[in-house]
């Protein structure tokens, strides 16, 4: 099965190609082909997983070379695949959650005239992400890395008839390119210092490299990760990316795209383990972003944007975990897997809410929806408990371990990183409960048409209803995952042993956190409970105003993403625009000016000389005679 693993990528890629090339002719059956392709990929992944599970732990890393991609003298890049526990974990997450999202989209996009194109892009996304995680070299990884960038651009701007969606897609694309620059330079450093960009060669060469080179590589890889995973300071695109259809948000946030940053850090564990300075920066960025995203999620009234802030925050946990080094790698991936389930569930739930509420995402216009949307309510509740880390839901097992690991170390580090992770858990509970209570509890802030109290009533007219089965079944499956997956994977440290061949055994069990374990866990759960209570007092018990209140300075700043857009505009966009305008001016005035001037001169010279070509024999004869006379005079003068 290992040799056939290229099918994983080939099937969805082929399906995307068929759908895009056939165009409208495949409208009728296109979505079903896309779902079949994604399912087939999942089945191949499952068979590969069983094959690898049947082997001894130390034999579980397979490098499959497909063909020589870039043979360039001494430097050559082979395109190949690495089948190992880490890549297979991702394969299972991507294909399983991806397939569920495909199925859900069948209902969500039912009335969209262009749904065949949508499914083609979804397949492309899955294929690109699988390329990313299965590649056995940074060059192959980069191929998939750019592929998910392209697919996300196409999907965020799927409804590009609205300018703001197209702008959001462009923003995501451009900000990702900034990060990609880091990855490209990192690959350049590898080519220069190691002479190869394959994982095996780079890992083998790490002990021989100087600390400076390793730190630079680590920081540049981090820059790439920061762009893809929407971490500080390249986080501003994620909120705007909500412009795409909701299943896309689920796919980007849960199974693909933003998880790529965590993947690349864990995949480059050899580099980061040897460069503690770079690793510390990773951990600090993760801790900072987890708080930043959590604050943003607290302030947003748009349910999707609040979830986007939450993703930023949860990915922050993973980056923090990965930045902690060998004690955290496995738990970063663990949290990534459980997060994939509950965040996909939350987004699909949000999509179901939008479906029922005329595409409104404003939570202030929801309220009391549990009575009319039973299944959505229950699945959302499971994911809500999971993301807060309430035992025994899956988020508890993964997040708690990261908080524990953050408290290991010496000096200021455990207190700052652990403190941030701890506070983040409390804020997570607050914003998720706020969302949950505002949406499903309290008084209804919408009316059926009959109950409308005259034209002055500000409440919108709605007829909320439960979504069709094709949408609710994927939500139920994800909710089951959100409930039980953590327990299953944490059973007897299964996920740590599974990932051990790639990232090494976690040292957490032998490490001594600066606070006793029971204290960390109790504090976390107390903060979570406190967050829920606070949210209940504010949004469950008391009526929620239809228009957002003015709010404190912090709230207003968080509503505007802490002015990230303004900062980006002032620091990079405007100077960039000025620079390009100057260059354009220089181009038109100086370069084009001289070239065009030369051309214009030639043309006018030709125009005046054209008059000589008048077709009169006698004037030609006169010219010849004049020429002879001039030549004679010149010869005469030269002779003298």
């Amino acid at each position: 099965m290992i040799d056939a693993s290229w099918l994983l990528v080939a099937i969805p890629a082929l399906s995307a190609a068929v759908l895009l090339l056939l165009g409208r002719r495949s409208d009728a059956w296109g979505p079903y082909l896309a779902i079949a392709a994604s399912t087939a990929s999942f089945v191949v992944g499952l068979l590969t997983l069983f094959t690898v599970l049947g082997e001894e732990a130390e034999n579980r890393i397979h490098d499959v070379t497909l063909y020589s991609w870039l043979p360039a003298g001494d430097f050559s890049v082979d395109l190949g695949m690495r089948i190992d526990p880490l890549s297979l974990t991702f394969v299972m997450l991507i294909t399983f959650v991806g397939t569920l999202i495909h199925v859900y989209s069948l209902g969500y996009m039912q009335h969209d005239a262009d749904k065949r194109r949508f499914f083609a892009y979804l397949n492309l996304f899955v294929a690109a992400m699988l390329t990313l995680v299965l590649a056995n070299s940074y060059a192959g990884l980069f191929l998939g890395w750019e592929g998910v960038g392209l697919a996300s651009y196409l999907l965020i701007g799927f409804w590009n008839q609205h300018t703001e969606n197209a702008v959001a897609a462009k923003k995501a694309f451009v900000m990702n390119r900034v990060g990609d620059m880091g990855l490209i330079i990192a690959m350049g450093l590898m080519a220069a210092n190691v002479g190869s960009v394959s994982f095996a060669d780079v890992d083998a060469a790490v002990p021989g490299l100087s600390a400076g080179v390793l730190t630079a590589m680590g920081l540049l890889l981090l820059l790439g990760a920061v762009g893809k995973s929407a971490q500080f300071p390249l986080q501003a695109w994620l909120g705007d990316a909500m412009a795409g259809p909701t299943p896309v948000s689920a796919l980007i946030h849960a199974a693909t795209m933003v998880t790529a940053g965590v993947y690349i850090i864990v995949r480059s564990d050899a580099i980061f383990s040897a460069a503690p300075d770079a690793r510390l920066v990773v951990a600090v960025i993760g801790a900072f972003t987890l708080l930043l995203g959590a604050f943003i999620a607290c302030a947003k009234d748009d349910i999707k944007k609040s979830l986007a802030g939450s993703t930023m925050s949860q990915i922050g946990y993973m980056v923090l975990g990965a930045g902690l080094g060998p004690i955290g790698y496995a738990f970063a991936i663990f949290h990534l897997v459980t997060h994939g389930f509950f965040k996909a569930g939350l987004f699909l739930g949000a999509g179901s809410l939008m479906h029922a509420n005329d595409d409104s995402t404003d939570m202030r216009h929801y309220g009391g929806l549990r009575k009319v949307m039973m299944i959505t309510w229950l699945t959302f509740a499971a994911c809500w408990l999971a993301i807060m880390g309430v035992p025994p839901f899956s988020g508890f097992y993964s997040k708690d371990k990261i908080i524990e690991a953050a408290f290991v170390g010496s000096g200021w580090q455990p207190w700052v990183l652990g403190g941030a992770a701890l506070i983040g858990a409390g804020i997570t509970a607050f914003y998720m409960s706020r969302m949950f209570f505002m949406t499903f509890f309290g008084k209804e802030r919408w009316v059926d048409s009959a109950e409308k109290l005259g034209p002055d009533d500000p409440r919108p007219v709605r007829h909320p209803h439960e979504s069709p089965l094709v949408m609710t079944i994927p939500m139920i499956v994800l909710a089951l995952g959100a409930t039980f997956l953590g327990m299953l994977l944490a059973w007897d440290s299964a996920i740590e042993h599974w990932l051990a061949p790639v990232v090494g055994e976690s040292e957490l069990h032998h490490a001594e956190p600066v606070m006793p374990l029971w204290l960390i866990m109790t504090t976390t759960l107390t903060l979570v409970a406190l967050g829920i209570l606070l949210a209940w007092r504010q949004y469950g018990m008391n009526p929620v105003p239809l228009t957002p209140p003015h709010g404190s300075v912090l709230t207003r700043a968080a509503r505007r993403d802490f002015y990230a857009d303004d900062v980006n505009e002032a620091l990079t966009m405007r100077p960039g625009q000025h620079l390009t305008r100057t260059l354009v001016y220089a181009d038109t005035a100086v370069v084009d000016g001289s070239v065009n001037g030369l051309a214009r001169g030639t043309v006018s010279l030709g125009r005046s000389w054209r008059k000589l070509q008048n077709g009169y024999v006698r004037s030609y004869a006169a010219l010849i005679l004049a020429g002879v006379v001039v030549a004679g005079i010149v010869l005469h003068l030269v002779r003298m």
């Binding site: 054209r610 070509q613 008048n614 077709g615 009169y616 024999v617 006698r618 004869a621 006169a622 005679l625």
Partner: protein, 99 residues
């Protein structure tokens, strides 16, 4: 009669021929101007031949005569066909190949 006199006569004949070619519209007259210029060349060649006591000038004069004869044959044929097709022998009117 010194050399200079012959050469001056040849120059005058050449100038008259050149002016004729440049100023007359009638193709036949322009043609005669060309003949005049050729003859002035022949005169100069023969004169030099006499003065230097060699035969090269005489031989060259014969060449010129042969060329002139050939030119008359082709030129007159062109003029005749021109007249047939356009009912004119003016050199200015058939300027179709300009531009």
């Amino acid at each position: 009669m010194s050399l200079v006199h012959y050469l001056v006569l040849a120059s005058i004949l050449f100038a008259v021929g050149a002016v004729t070619v440049l100023t007359r519209r009638n193709a036949i007259l322009a043609f005669m101007g060309v003949e005049l210029m050729l003859n002035s060349c022949n005169l100069a060649l023969v004169t030099f031949s006499r003065v230097h006591g060699g035969l090269e000038g005489q031989v060259m004069a014969f060449y010129v005569m042969v060329v002139a004869a050939a030119e008359v044959v082709v030129g007159l044929a062109i003029i005749v066909s021109l007249y047939r097709s356009r009912r004119t022998v003016s050199v200015d009117e058939p300027s179709l190949l300009k531009n």
